[in-house]
């Protein structure tokens, strides 16, 4: 329990640090890019919205930096991330529509990559120097290639030339499409169809890490005495492998927490390539429009999501490893 509270304390600190960083990020840069962006976009948003933004960013109000910071924190506490300067919509509304797409895509792809990668890693470690080991450098290719290049290659050769899967949007939106949003068969099928390639790109890019990590941990664990005991007892091979795998899995779970930030940012890049209706496409549009409130809002939301997933992984770790419970 103390461990969990300690971790929770750390995540609160991290969240606070991220908010503070977000506050100072643009204000400290030369030439106040925020004020410049606001000045450019006055035509598109209503005076009331502009006033709200000026309040959020403390522009033209002659407040001290400290009181600006307090105002900013107060606004965030009320769930106010400002208004998009390009779309004149509250940032929270925009993110609210995007977030389910991103969460769905990332969680499915990550779950598939983690489970498959761990299984392959166990087998590669168990049968060291087998065929699977020869595949390691191949899977590394996918890991070493930046997400967007891998996404492009899939989009082009599987989607565009191969014609196997649609290459843009989250569901069928073309003319003559019969799909209506909601929980119906056509829509869900269309979402799966459109999500396949982006999810495959994310999964391919992250699977190598799980395979290599699990293989190496498996090999180290297999030299432990208790595995030898299990084998000496005459247990069937797969039971011995399971004994080793269960203990080799723990570092993978703590690595899972660490890598989630990389996977999420990578998947955002993938979304841009596939024009997927999630946070990725949103931040890409925001960059083109110099829409700082949206950019910063997305950074905040991603940070909070990553921290939450980290905390969940910590809970899982504590539940699985008695040693983690004692450490404090």
């Amino acid at each position: 329990m103390r461990t969990i509270l300690r971790r929770l304390g750390f995540y609160l600190l991290a969240a606070f640090a991220a908010l503070t960083l977000n506050f100072f990020l643009l204000r400290m840069l030369p030439g106040n890019p925020l004020a410049a962006a606001l000045a450019k976009s006055t035509g598109q948003i209503t005076p009331a919205q502009l006033e709200g933004l000026e309040k959020l960013y403390g522009i033209g109000t002659h407040q001290s930096l400290a009181s600006q910071y307090l105002t900013y924190l107060g606004q965030l506490l009320h769930g106010n991330l400002g208004t998009s300067t390009a779309k004149s919509v509250p940032v929270t509304t925009l993110i609210g529509t995007d977030l389910p797409w991103t969460l769905g895509l990332v969680s499915v792809a990550t779950a598939v990559a983690f489970i498959l990668g761990t299984l392959i890693g166990v087998m590669a470690g168990w049968r060291r120097s087998g065929l699977l080991d020869a595949l390691l450098p191949v899977s590394t290719f996918f890991q070493a290639v930046p997400y967007f290049i891998l996404s492009f290659l899939l989009l082009l050769y599987v989607g565009y030339y191969g014609g196997l899967f649609p290459i843009s949007n989250g569901y069928d939106t073309g003319r003559g499409s019969t799909v209506t949003e909601g929980w119906n068969l056509g829509f869900v099928g269309s979402v799966i169809d459109h999500g396949f390639l982006p999810a495959a790109a994310i999964a391919l890019a992250s699977i190598a890490g799980w395979i290599v990590g699990m293989r190496n941990m498996m090999i180290t664990t297999m030299d432990e005495d208790y595995v030898l005991v299990a084998a000496a007892k005459g247990l069937p091979q797969w039971r011995v492998a399971a004994v080793a795998a269960r203990n080799a899995l723990l570092p993978s779970i703590s690595n899972f927490a660490l890598s989630i930030s990389l996977v999420v940012t990578g998947s955002i890049v993938t979304e841009i390539v596939f024009s997927y209706p999630g946070l990725g496409s949103e931040i890409s549009t925001a960059i083109q429009n110099t829409d700082y409130p949206v950019m910063q809002g997305i950074v905040i939301v991603v940070v909070f999501t990553v921290l939450a997933v980290n905390f969940l992984a910590d809970l899982a770790y504590v539940a699985l490893d008695p040693r983690a419970r004692k450490e404090a």
Binding site: P146, L155, N216, S261, T265, V269
Partner: protein
């Protein structure tokens, strides 16, 4: 050289050396300058031919020359990011691991915060706000990327330093009254070298990927042609939809090849740190079957050293 016994290391090194040579001499070998245009009126890209090996882009730039010239800044930026981030990670990780206590708590919290922050997204926001001439400078970009990349290495180095700290030779050095900075530099850091190399390689891979992504998003200014800006131009020029593959495939493959070469090297280093990880497939000439509970050893010693030794012994006896 046990490093050179691994096919992975040899292959990785070979590819890497090739690309370093391209980075050094590519701009000089290129038939044209990166901004040279074959024609200022035509606006259809030419496919690869004898005259233009990689074809041309919409503005009739020779893409072969651009690929040759584009490696220099791309590699420089990722190398710089790797060096700066590794230095930061040594500073933070080793200090935290060696000193322990409240310093460790603070530095570890800082490391964990940076691990959880989405570096690439923050870079997008910052680079968008920076003036374009500043983002065109390789030194700035390398340093800015490094700021988001040091945390992973710091964490690994901290853990390793903590195990080294309680080793006999370090404690011996403490007992005879060596000063802490000296112990860190001469006793701890040399033993961290393999891990340092591995984390450096990971950072360079991260650096090249991050730089290419930022450039592809159009967030990198300046007039220098790099593989990243080539991908951006191809994207803006509609190369994907129009099927002008020769425009974006070469720079994309170059980025990918450098990444793969570095990962292959990393495999080799991992196997040096922990020889058990060695895959028999990667070693030349020896097929080893691993059996549970036994650590196979590839016998490399021949009769020669033994003979030498006996000769020496005889000499000693004679003296």
């Amino acid at each position: 050289m046990r490093y050179l016994r691994s096919t992975k290391v040899i292959l990785g090194l070979a590819i890497l050396v090739l690309f370093v040579l391209i980075a050094l001499f590519g701009p000089m070998l290129a038939p044209h300058s990166a901004h040279w245009q074959a024609s200022t009126t035509a606006d259809t890209p030419l496919p690869p031919s004898g005259r233009f090996w990689f074809g041309t882009d919409v503005q009739q730039h020779d893409l072969f020359s651009q690929v040759l010239a584009g490696g220099r800044d791309t590699l420089l930026i990722s190398l710089l990011a790797g060096v700066i981030a590794t230095a930061l990670s040594v500073l933070v990780g080793v200090t935290a691991g060696y000193l322990g206590g409240i310093v460790d708590d603070l530095l570890s919290a800082l490391t964990n915060i940076f691990l959880a922050l989405p570096g690439l997204l923050i870079l997008m926001v910052v680079l968008k706000a920076l003036p374009l001439d500043l983002t065109g400078n390789p030194l700035t970009i390398g340093a800015v990327i490094a700021l988001t990349a040091w945390a992973w290495g710091a964490r690994v180095l901290r853990a390793q330093t903590m195990t080294l700290r309680s080793q006999d030779y370090v404690e011996a050095a403490q007992v005879i009254g060596e000063r802490k900075p000296r112990i860190i530099i001469f006793e701890i850091v040399p033993n961290l070298l393999p891990i340092l190399a591995s984390s450096f390689i990971f950072t360079v891979i991260y650096g090249i990927g991050t730089y290419a992504t930022l450039a592809w998003l159009g967030l990198i200014g300046g007039s220098t042609v790099t593989w990243g800006t080539m991908l951006y131009n191809a994207q803006v020029g509609g190369a994907l939809i129009s099927g002008w593959w020769w425009w974006f495939i070469p720079p994309a493959l170059c980025v990918a090849a450098v990444g793969v070469a570095l990962s292959l090297l990393n495999f080799g280093i991992d196997e040096i740190i922990n020889p058990r990880l060695t895959s028999a497939r990667g070693t030349r000439g020896h097929r080893v079957r691993f059996v549970l509970g036994l650590t196979p050893v590839v016998r490399t010693a021949t009769a020669a050293p033994a003979a030498d030794l006996s000769l020496d012994l005889k000499k000693e006896v004679a003296q």
